[in-house]
Symmetry: C2
Subunit: 205 residues, 2 copies
């Protein structure tokens, strides 16, 4: 029996969802909330398995709500159930701790399935949304650095100093220095820290 809770301000939607879920064998839905504030108050007592969470809510947003709830009740899985499909809503939700992300036009059968999937350790979402997630951690631009420079940048990221790098790649400290100057120029930075930041931001290493 999967215990489900709902946080959704629209009374109609909230009750319909609860009815569908509670009326399906293997599911139970006895707790619904119209805002995050009341959910945060009550959830620690009932501790459901899965929570369906809207984003647009009066007061605290669903994203902020998940962030707070996840801190204390980290074992509860949250599924975003929202009309928003913009990149920011999706990424912020997942970063806040949402496990699944569905849009409100998801058919009941699919919704129930998604709840099952989350319960079994999956992250249900449309393939369109998955694409956004996949794209987000792929480096798009190709590195302007040479192989040698990339090797040195990697070592810069590890905090190795000129001499250590020089010894490691069997060249003089002067050469390392020259390479690093070129790296900085290509990346448009003026310090190690900025170079490291750019290395990670642009996924150069």
């Amino acid at each position: 029996m999967i215990n489900v809770a709902i946080v959704e301000d629209d009374r109609e939607i909230r009750q319909t969802l609860a009815l569908i879920i509670d009326g399906t064998p293997g599911f139970s839905c006895k707790n619904t909330f119209e805002d995050c504030e009341s959910a945060i108050e009550t959830l620690p007592e009932i501790v459901p398995d899965v929570v369906l969470m809207d984003i647009n809510l009066p007061g605290m947003t669903g994203i902020e709500g998940i962030r707070i709830l996840k801190e204390r009740l980290s074992h509860i899985d949250f599924i975003m159930l929202t009309i928003q499909e913009d990149d920011e809503s999706i990424f912020d939700s997942l970063l806040a701790g949402a496990t699944g992300y569905l849009t409100k036009d998801t058919p009941p059968a699919d919704l129930l399935n998604a709840i099952r999937e989350v319960y079994k350790g999956g992250s249900p979402m449309s393939t369109q949304i998955a694409r956004k997630v996949v794209t987000s951690f792929k480096s798009d631009k190709k590195s302007p650095l040479t192989e040698r420079e990339t090797e040195i940048l990697q070592r810069l990221c590890n905090g190795e100093n000129y001499k250590v790098i020089a010894d490691a790649i069997f060249v003089s400290g002067h050469t390392v220095r020259a390479h690093i100057k070129n790296i900085y120029e290509k990346l448009h930075v003026h310090s190690r820290a900025e170079a490291v930041k750019k290395a990670f931001k642009d996924k150069l290493i």
Copy 2:
């Protein structure tokens, strides 16, 4: 009509897949390859819409193959079709440019669906695999740093020097140094570069 190509070393599997796909209305599969090398040679001429790619291949791996093919034929979508389900294979595939990721036990109907999804701009994958992807860009451990320290770490990442930071947060340069020392101790690092690296790796900022 979605034009599909297959790269798969097992003759049995390759031919079965080709038959299924080519025999389905709306799909065409006239080109199959038993390794990446021959695929790289021929694909630029036929330019399919979608390529099903195995990982374990004689010679070049499917991951390496995608990396090379994506450079020239960036508009082709690749679906990984493999037995591997380890995190590394998944992430390396997606980083190399794969759009979808399926295991070989995927039923034919689901496979055809996945091809359609990719063609429509989605990223088909099991919810279990999606979970791994989602988890990968979520910060798991909570920051050991104070608010002040986090603020300073952020500025360190931007390459701001002591004086600039000091002026920005209205304290002396000495104080900034002390904070940074504490940051380094907490993060177990000994330089800006390492701190910046850890900040991004652990998603502290």
